[in-house]
């Protein structure tokens, strides 16, 4: 259920009329707005770190890369990066689909496809980070 808000509506020069309007919505706007920014900062820090590593270890060798990802802090940092990436991608893709796909059935199907893909990618990422 939405909250009732009072608005002032100006009608020409004749005066002001107060109206009551119900603002509906799931109220996830601010939470998602904040999440999009926090995940962006986490990914930016990780990207700059990884870019720095590439610059310092050029040309890139398997051994250097393998060693970097063998440290537990790096593994958790990578997991945090992917978690941020998938949350960020969900909010972004959801917003794009809400804007351009007007058929509710198609939109629901695409939203579901995005969620399922991201969950699978997450499991895949865990497997890559902690695999052999």
């Amino acid at each position: 259920m939405g909250h009732a808000h009072e608005y002032c509506i100006y009608i020409g020069n004749s005066g002001v009329v107060m109206v009551s309007r119900v603002v509906s919505g799931a109220h996830y706007g601010l939470r998602d707005w904040l999440m999009q920014r926090i995940t962006a900062v986490i990914m930016a820090v990780f990207s700059v770190f990884l870019a720095g590593f590439f610059v310092l270890h050029t040309p890139l060798q398997f051994g250097d890369l393998k060693q970097l990802f063998s440290h537990d802090p790096m593994r958790y940092f990578t997991l945090l990066f992917f978690l941020s990436l998938f949350l960020h991608a969900w909010v972004g893709m959801r917003d794009i689909l809400m804007d351009y796909v007007h058929s509710a059935v198609v939109r629901l199907a695409l939203h579901s496809a995005v969620i399922v893909s991201l969950v699978i990618y997450f499991m895949w990422a865990v497997q890559i980070i902690w695999g052999k």
Binding site: F62, L85, A89, G92, M93, I96, S117, Y121, G131
Partner: protein, 125 residues
């Protein structure tokens, strides 16, 4: 009296300001990056799996100019998304909100995303 204004949002008929173009490309690049996620994960997997799979990956890219171009395109998508995102974060903390500043930063995002893509391309190959 009703004003005559375009009520459609036909992208081929409206002229977007530079910050609108940056915003649109931010969306487009974001959607592109989402679509190539499986390739990014696959690349990470191949580079960390065995020395052989890592070298195979490097050699595949090394001798394939078309693949290099494709990778450079996605690198641009990443850099544009990154820089435009940084710009949005700065706007969120009310940095550069004046119209002329916002236009200038939008131009810088367009310029630097392309320049850095070319610089990295030149550095790698």
């Amino acid at each position: 009296m009703k004003k005559q204004r375009p009520v459609h949002l036909n992208l081929f008929q409206i002229k977007l300001p530079i910050s609108g173009i940056v915003s649109l490309l931010h969306r487009l690049s974001g959607a592109l990056l989402f679509l190539i996620l499986p390739f990014i994960l696959w690349t990470l997997q191949a580079s960390l799996n065995t020395e052989e799979s890592c070298n195979n990956l490097i050699n595949t890219v090394k001798y394939n100019p078309i693949l290099k171009l494709v990778i450079m395109f996605f690198l641009w998508a990443f850099l544009h998304h990154f820089m435009a995102g940084m710009r949005f974060l700065l706007l969120d903390v009310h940095w550069g909100c004046e119209l002329h500043q916002a236009r200038l930063s939008a131009k810088w995002v367009m310029l630097m995303s392309i320049a850095s893509t070319l610089a990295i391309a030149g550095w790698l190959w």
